[in-house]
Amino acid sequence: MMGNVLTSRIATDFFGGVTSGIVIALVALCLVIIWQSTNILNFAQGAMSMFAAFVGMNLVFHGVNYWLCLLIAVLAGMVSGGLTERVLIRPLYGKPEINPVVVMIGFLGVVEALAASIWNNESATVPPPFSLTYFESNGHTILISPNAIFQVTLAVGVMLLVALVFRYTNIGLQMRAAALAPEVSKLLGVRVDRLLTLGWIVSSGVGAIAAVIVSTGQTLAPTNMDGIFVSAFIAAAIGGLSSPVGAVTGGVLIGLTNYYVLDFWSPNIAPLTSVVVLVAVLFVRPQGLFTKNTTRRV
């Protein structure tokens, strides 16, 4: 009986939707962290994450342990995030809003081209740390593999860690303050500029984990994150751009919608569903699902 429930179409789509949605949620969370602190949409988030994943996971093909590669990818992500903020973004603060948009779209192209030229000949499948074989129940396949459980656990763990740091630590309090009220924070001695860099470092580290999850069991390719980035962008917009909870909810919602539409309706329609969900949400709540106010009182 239990086996039938777990192997039903609804359950199968649910597992697939959650697994893909949680990665979208992770990337959406990165976008929100940066948007909240700097009011910049990081259009290069996907490409930067993928570049970091290349730096780390490419070493798997040279015999380095998977977990060490994951750690290297995260560190590469953090370093590149910090450098990007310092070198590319900092000169743009206070400039017209279109400037960072143009710069980050250009940077997206540069990063993808760079990754393709550096690792062009080394593309191969990244071996997963856990089995990709689906569990079975009474001869029926349940669409969950040990590796999928690992991916969801890692993504949820990272989200919880980020939430706990932001909510309960002094540095988290200062980062939230710097995002909400930069001038007041400076008047209290908070080093706002350093915290903005830290926001980019955290976001890029988290992004690297998302890219590693996406690339595990697949071929490493510079464009692996492009589709996910678009979904994550929509997920963040659904949540209201400044709500981490909204971004995560939006991500899972998009993952689930994609799977159900793909299975019950048509694979051709599936890519459009997230846009339809976005339009529907923006019709009902233009500020997004989880943003309380459009103006802030300080």
Binding site: V184, L187, G189
Partner: protein, 235 residues
């Protein structure tokens, strides 16, 4: 002690402050008075490093501030309660206070306890978001958050703005008591000249970015022209 010498500040072609010079002594309240647009807020924002000066100097206990960032000026013990109070509405009272301690070496628990003794209502509201506080409570929170890091200089920009007369009176009494007990150098900006002059030891009157009078609060208050044209105080 704050020493301001020949300070000039411009917003583009508009001169907000021109050759402003005065001193504010330790353990005393110096009121900065003047009509809207006189340059009062600009003066405090320049001291805090939020606005850059193009000429002149600001020194606090012999330390030059004009080349320092806002964060470093705050870390030197110069607390600025901005106009509109600047409490973070999305944070609880405790979070606002905690934020005030993080750039200093003050123990969070002890610092908070001291502020709760000064402003008991904040203890009752400690878990509430600042957005739910009344105007007077917000002002108390802003003051407590500034004082918690044990500053030597307190810059107050219109603390009575939007407060009921009785609350304003209480606030002024608290400022006066704190100034002498903590030996603070207080610069107090007020449009409500009457209540400011009641507690101030010295006063500086600004008009269109220039100092047009300075001296003891009593002197300024007894000058008929000052009263009539700049202070809005009736005898």
């Amino acid at each position: 002690m704050i020493k301001i010498d020949q300070l000039s500040v411009s917003y583009g072609a508009v001169k907000a402050l021109e050759n402003v010079s005065f001193e504010a002594a330790k353990g005393r309240i110096t009121a900065v008075l003047g009509a809207n647009g006189a340059g009062k807020t600009t003066l405090l924002r320049t001291i805090s490093g939020l606005v850059a000066s193009h000429h002149g100097s600001i020194t606090v206990d012999e330390i030059q501030l004009t080349d320092k960032s806002t964060e470093n000026i705050a870390r030197l013990g110069i607390a600025h309660v901005p106009e509109g109070r600047g409490v973070i509405a999305e944070f609880t009272v405790e979070e606002n206070l905690k934020l005030g301690t993080l750039a200093s070496k003050v123990n969070i628990g002890e610092g908070m306890e001291k502020q709760f003794e000064l402003f008991p209502v904040l203890r009752e509201r400690r878990k509430q978001h600042a957005s739910t506080l009344s105007g007077g409570e917000r002002q108390m929170l802003a003051m407590a958050r500034a004082l918690i890091a044990k500053p030597s200089v307190l810059l107050l920009d219109e603390p009575s703005l939007g407060l009921a007369p009785l609350v304003t009176q209480e606030m002024m009494k608290t400022i006066s008591a704190l100034c002498s007990s903590e030996q603070l150098t207080v610069l107090l900006i007020e449009q409500n000249a009457k209540s400011a002059l009641k507690i101030a030891h010295e006063a500086v009157v600004l008009h269109l970015g220039h100092v047009i009078a300075s001296g003891s609060a009593q002197q300024i208050q007894s000058d008929d022209n000052m009263r009539r044209y700049y202070l809005g105080v009736q005898r």
